[in-house]
């Protein structure tokens, strides 16, 4: 069995080389893997998806999908992958059932033939099957789009930011569905700007400004966080950010939920007590400093700092 997806030194520029979208990207998605591409908007995720789905030609590098070359064998790839673009890309003026039937026929199959695969998802939107797709809620739109991308039982599934603009409950449901699909042996490449979703993937690639920062399992990525990380808070958070940054031992300090996440410069890691004293001198009250385990986002921010 070949790897589901391989990229080797993929580079893509727009506007005749003026804008670099992705630069020298290489990674592999194994057969049956749920692989996440994690990065903020504009990192180059959609460009990679379009190269892999044969919609764009890379300027340099080689990519394969299901063992097929994306440039040479584009026609074969188009028949065996499922693609859900970042934007809702179904016919808004067609009903739910019409959309599904249309895409099933387009892929030379029927809804019934692979109904087992989409049953769990489709049952949820079935009550609305006569409703126009444009009138569905965000979460239902995504479920329908997933059904349409799955209806021909693809070998590899490409989902470009499937949970963007979807409420928290639907997001969770969506990820549960992906896990079930993975169990059916479908390789899935999914992108997301939400760092908290990274933990739901088997392996992830962190991408920023068109470059891959790190590729590993989410657990290993967190484990690779160098040094210790502290969560800090006080009565006056706004002032706290400025004060922690002016503290001589601070390597980085940034807002993270209700806390500041703070790392000390290497060699000065025991400075927590000093910091508390320092902050106290500057009139802070209710100071909390606590060592925490880093998250994927912390690692991402740390890697981004290295990259600059």
């Amino acid at each position: 069995m070949p790897d589901a997806v391989t990229l080797e030194g993929i580079t893509k520029t727009y506007d005749k080389g003026k804008v670099v979208a992705v630069k020298d990207v290489s990674f592999t998605v194994k057969q049956g893997e749920l692989f996440g591409l994690i990065g903020p908007d504009g990192a180059g995720k959609s460009t990679l998806f379009r190269i892999l789905t044969t919609l764009l030609l890379p300027d340099a590098g080689v990519a394969t999908v299901a063992g097929l070359d994306t440039t040479r064998d584009f026609r074969k790839i188009r028949a065996c992958v499922g693609y859900m673009p970042g934007r809702f890309s179904l016919y808004q003026d067609l009903s739910v059932a019409e959309n599904l039937n249309f895409f099933a026929t387009l892929f030379d199959t029927t809804v019934e033939a692979n109904y087992a695969l989409i049953r769990d998802i489709y049952e949820q939107i079935k009550p609305f099957s006569t409703r126009r797709a444009g009138k569905l809620s965000g979460g239902m739109k995504q479920k329908l789009a997933l059904c349409c991308a799955l209806v021909h039982k693809p070998d590899v599934l490409f989902l470009d930011e499937p949970t963007t603009g979807v409420d928290a409950v639907s997001r969770k449901e969506f990820w549960d569905m992906l896990k079930r699909l993975k169990e059916q042996g479908i390789s899935i490449l999914v992108s997301t700007p939400y760092m908290d979703e990274a933990n739901l993937c088997e392996r992830i690639a962190l991408i920023q400004n068109g470059k891959i920062l790190s590729i590993d399992t989410p657990q290993q990525i967190i484990r690779d966080y160098p040094g210790k990380l502290y969560a800090v808070r006080s009565g006056s958070m706004h002032k706290l950010l400025a004060d922690t940054r002016s503290f001589p031992g601070t390597a980085s300090s940034y807002a993270f939920g209700q806390y500041l996440h703070l790392a000390f410069t290497p060699g000065r890691e025991g400075s927590a007590a000093n910091l508390e004293k320092y902050l106290g001198e500057r009139g802070h009250s209710g100071i909390e400093i606590e060592e925490i385990t880093a998250s994927v986002e912390d690692r991402f921010i740390q890697l981004m700092g290295n990259d600059r």
Binding site: R50, T53, A79, Y83, S89, L106
Partner: protein
């Protein structure tokens, strides 16, 4: 094949669920036909006219009275001289003038022959021709009455002078022109907009990442719009025949065959536009404005091509609508067959094939 049919059905869903498309498809032709048929009518009532009478005798008075009595003319006043008349023309106050030379009645009675000059403002050729025909008829009638009981007939020779546009190229027969215009705009706009909409909505991405060949995407776009355009063509023909009494003298099959080719060339244009635009608004603007102007200007149905400077005449040759219009006029109004229009038909077919080839070639099988 099944994929193709489902795709075509989907296109029909789009058309019948979108008010804007329906409006372009069916509102446009009806509006155009009614507009050209009734609002832009070439029928004349109460045209301003002056008489320059150098003889002022019984005969001229009788003719002037008859003209004044006609519902088509409103006799402004009798001007005294040629110069006055010319001034009135230049100010655009009058459409037409009648000039009687001195000794009109004498010439008529003794020489059995008299002359009268009709001068018309031919910058509006249709009006001009109609007016001079009416005047001719009035004078002819007078002459006929005069000759009723006389052995040697009197002759009044009318000499018609066309000011500004002596060739008189203007056609009242606008229906073929409207057909060309409507088909051009409707087919081009609908095709380009429907493809660009797929791009804009992102559905083109999904369509491309499927085993359905890009060529079939185009074909299944073209087929519904071809059918709808033929329907459109039929509607205009029916409107023309039953509402405006335009005759169809030629072979209906030939008319449809020629129209089919013209529609195909319009569809190819739309396809070509869709390859180079990425928003529905742009596609719509280019198809409507970009197609409307050349079609109106260069088909010759509103402005005579023969009067244009030669560079424009050369350009007019590359507008398919010009050839189609010429075919339609010949077949529909003159009732001639393929032998009369084979040259134009060949040009039209050639253009259609070329356009189709270019547009198919320019269709992108990827996004960029």
């Amino acid at each position: 094949m099944k994929q193709f049919l489902v795709f075509v059905r989907k296109e029909f869903y789009h058309v019948f669920r979108d008010k804007r498309t329906l409006l372009i498809l069916f509102g446009l032709p009806i509006a155009q036909v009614l507009l050209f048929g009734f609002a832009l009518t070439t029928e004349i009532k109460n045209a301003q006219i002056v008489v320059v009478d150098y003889s002022k005798d019984v005969a001229t008075q009788q003719i002037i009275t008859r003209i004044a009595a006609s519902p088509y003319f409103s006799l402004d006043r009798e001007v005294l001289s040629y110069a006055d008349m010319e001034r009135a023309f230049r100010r655009g106050k009058i459409k037409c003038a009648v000039v009687f030379p001195p000794h009109f009645n004498e010439d008529l009675l003794h020489g059995h022959k008299a002359q009268v000059q009709i001068i018309a403002d031919a910058s509006d050729p249709n009006t001009d021709r109609t007016l001079s025909n009416y005047l001719n008829a009035i004078i002819g009638e007078y002459q006929h009455d005069l000759n009723a009981n006389i052995p040697v007939p009197y002759q009044i020779k009318t000499e018609i002078t066309m000011l500004y546009n002596p060739e008189m190229n203007g056609s009242m027969n606008f229906i073929p022109g409207v057909i060309a215009l409507v088909l051009m705009i409707a087919c081009t706009t609908l095709t380009s907009v429907s493809i660009v909409r797929e791009k804009e909505m992102g559905t083109m991405e999904v369509l491309l990442v499927s085993p359905f060949r890009p060529l079939y995407v185009i074909l299944s776009k073209a087929v519904p719009y071809l059918a709808l355009s033929l329907m459109n063509f039929t509607i205009i023909l029916l409107l023309g025949v039953f509402l405006l009494d335009v005759p169809i003298r030629g072979n209906l099959v030939l008319l449809f065959a020629e129209s089919l080719f013209f529609i195909l060339s319009c569809l190819s244009f739309g396809l070509l536009i869709s390859s180079f635009t990425s928003s529905q608004q742009t596609a719509m603007m280019i198809s409507m404005m970009g197609m409307m102007l050349p079609t109106i200007l260069f088909t010759g149905f509103l402005f005579p091509i023969e009067n244009m400077p030669w560079p424009l005449q050369v350009i007019s040759n590359i507008v398919p609508a010009k050839w189609y219009y010429s075919i339609m006029k010949t077949v529909m109004l003159k009732g001639l067959g393929i032998t009369a229009v084979w040259k134009e038909s060949l040009v039209l077919v050639g253009m259609t094939c070329a356009l189709l080839a270019i547009s198919l070639k320019s269709f992108k099988i990827r996004l960029a």
